[in-house]
């Protein structure tokens, strides 16, 4: 079916993206903090197949960028050819914080550098920083979304299943969160955290803050599902067999909510990634040198960077297919589970 095809393509793209970012160390030719002051603001490295002597190489190769001090531009030094190598040993990195490795997918011999997305003001490779930044922004978004939906499931199930004053109280609580302009609230809560704090703590706090803001809508939707599931005949029948509330929830009611929960996840993840990006962009996220997609874009606030170095936009451009894929997945899920749009 055509729709299935769209969903599959979106999921494949998402899977690829996530794998690249998860294994950032492997796919990135350089570390995220590796500076090279001689190569500040270098444009993306170009790959060639034909060299200056008109010789064709089967392997693509790059030239060294020579910094022309007088007008601060970069020109390719055509004297030596540096072929692209695969599975190159390079700077050590850790996979999932546990396993050490040194192999990188691709690289070139020194003194050439391969910067697919160019470099920033400190000569750091933007492509590597993009992948490492993704580890922060992407997973912050995902974890926060899981948190929101998780709280939503708990609150929504309790409110829908038990009704009465529990329902009233919980829904009034969610009203409070609906009434808050969430971006402002996010900022206000961020203000409550110290500005300069060790990385992982900030990450966790950031994630919890973002996640705690958005539980209200999933809770509402799940409550609706639980309300109707509660009345189904097979639930009544199970009750007739003497089933406890916990059993009914676990076995019959909650499985009905998974569709809505999944759809909400697909909707919230891109929103939360953007929230983290916005925070980092404004300097309210995790500090240097840990990159995040937002901090990669922060230099664009300087006019000279904005107008002269177009490649600094590329990290943002790369986000477009990611969000597109998430939205397509969310649309497909929505159609499948027929959730009510709010």
């Amino acid at each position: 079916m055509k729709r299935n095809y769209k969903l599959r393509a979106a999921l494949a793209l998402l899977a690829a993206f996530h794998v690249f970012i998860l294994l950032a160390g492997f796919f990135a030719p350089y570390g995220f903090a590796t500076q090279d002051r001689d190569m500040a603001f270098a444009p993306p490295t170009r790959m060639h197949f034909v060299d200056a002597q008109d010789k064709f190489h089967a392997r693509p190769f790059v030239y060294v960028f020579k910094n022309n001090i007088s007008d601060s531009s970069y020109a390719e030094d055509l004297s030596y050819v540096y072929p692209l190598r695969l599975f190159v040993p390079g700077a050590p990195y850790k996979i999932a914080g546990m396993f050490s490795a040194r192999v990188h997918l691709f690289g070139v011999d020194a003194p050439a550098r391969i910067s697919l997305l160019g470099t920033d003001g400190y000569g750091r490779d933007q492509f590597s920083r993009f992948l490492y930044g993704g580890q922060l922004s992407l997973f912050a978004g995902i974890i926060a979304a899981v948190l929101s939906v998780g709280i939503g499931i708990v609150v929504g199930s309790l409110a829908g299943f038990y009704g009465g004053w529990i329902d009233n109280g919980l829904m009034r609580g969610s009203d409070l969160f609906f009434a808050l302009p969430w971006l402002y609230l996010l900022f206000a809560v961020r203000a409550a955290l110290p500005l300069h704090v060790p990385e992982w703590e900030v990450f966790l706090l950031l994630v919890s803050v973002i996640g705690l803001i958005g539980w209200a809508r999933p809770a509402r939707l799940i409550r609706g599902v639980v309300l109707s599931a509660r009345e189904r005949n097979f639930v009544r029948a199970a009750r007739g067999f003497g089933a406890s509330d916990a059993y009914l929830l676990r076995r019959h009611v909650l499985p009905q909510t998974y569709g809505v929960a999944l759809t909400q996840l697909a909707l919230l993840i891109p929103q939360y990634i953007l929230a983290e990006v916005t925070l980092s962009f404004l300097g309210l996220g995790i500090g240097e040198p840990v990159p995040s997609w937002g901090s990669l874009l922060a230099t664009l606030q300087h006019y000279d960077v904005l107008s002269s170095y177009w490649w600094m936009f590329l990290p943002a451009v790369l986000l477009v297919p990611l969000f597109f894929a998430y939205h397509a997945a969310a649309d497909a899920l929505q159609e499948r589970y027929e959730s009510i749009s709010l």
């Binding site: 005949n233 097979f234 067999f241």
Partner: protein
């Protein structure tokens, strides 16, 4: 004449299995701004008894309160007044915990089996569910018993892993019956259990029920508006009209000599027995 499905003599102890006295159910309307609370009467002054191994039919038009009564008897809803005596105890006076073991003995079969079965569970899981809930035996023992029950209702073991939607309407109803049998009930309440099925399937279900009754001396309360099936299947018939029982007699007598005007109307609206029998002898196979 028509073939009787049930044994000609009711079996076992002459004391009633279930005895209902003065049962009534009112619904209060929830209208927060209304001046007076109106109450809707579902049924009132219901007195019934039923013995093991017999079938009591409850007939009447839709909206007469039959289904609500059925649910109250199955303890799925709370009546407003009255007593339900079952195996020597007044069920309504007991606490939930005391009621639990007795509750298992009364089971309800719904009209629409699809809604009564969780579409995400497999057949054997559904049938074993009561055992799982009550924690009777270990998992594999439960599974074996479930397969045995399925066999009893005529479902093969191959269909054990299928889901409800993969079965036909009649098979789903069998599944529901198998599940209801798991806790070895003595009273089965069938709320329009055959109404959604085609004639042929109805026959097979009724056959199954008759066999079960003969084998286990179960009592049935058969709620229906299909008088033909009732006439063949039930020992006694009670007619409900606007929430009250207006006539309650052994089926033969009722169909020969209806006394209450409403009963007469009902019977008049029914196609004649002879015509039906004639049709049966010619066309319908078993």
């Amino acid at each position: 004449m028509s073939v009787r499905r049930m044994p000609s003599q009711p079996v076992d102890p002459p004391e009633p299995l279930l005895s209902v006295r003065g049962l009534a159910k009112e619904f209060a309307e929830h209208r927060p701004f209304a001046r007076a609370r109106r109450t809707l009467l579902a049924f009132d002054e219901i007195n019934l008894t039923i013995r093991r191994g017999t079938t009591l039919a409850l007939v009447g038009e839709s909206g007469a309160g039959k289904s609500t009564l059925a649910r109250c008897l199955a303890l799925l809803e709370k009546p407003t007044r009255g007593e339900i005596w079952f195996e020597g105890s007044n069920l309504l006076a007991l606490s939930e915990r005391e009621r639990l073991p007795l509750r298992s003995k009364i089971q309800l079969i719904h009209q629409d089996p699809a809604s009564a079965l969780n579409p995400g569970m497999t057949a054997v899981e559904i049938v074993a569910e009561p055992l799982a809930i009550q924690r009777l035996g270990k998992k594999d023992e439960q599974r074996i018993r479930a397969l045995e029950l399925m066999r009893q209702v005529g479902l093969s073991a191959e269909s054990a892993c299928k889901r409800p939607l993969e079965f036909s309407g009649g098979q789903r109803q069998r599944l529901a019956i198998a599940r209801a049998l798991a806790l070895e009930p003595t009273l089965l309440i069938l709320d329009e259990a055959c109404s959604g099925l085609d004639l042929q399937t109805q026959e097979t279900i009724l056959d199954l029920l008759a066999d079960l009754q003969a084998a286990f001396a179960m009592a049935f309360i058969y709620v229906s508006h299909d008088l033909r099936a009732v006439s063949e299947f039930a020992h006694e018939t009670a007619v409900m009209y606007q929430g009250r029982i207006v006539e309650h007699k052994p089926s033969d007598e009722l169909f020969e000599n209806p006394e209450h005007p409403y009963t007469q109307e009902l019977l008049a609206a029914m196609p004649s027995m002879d015509a039906i029998c004639a049709g049966r002898l010619i066309g319908v196979s078993r």
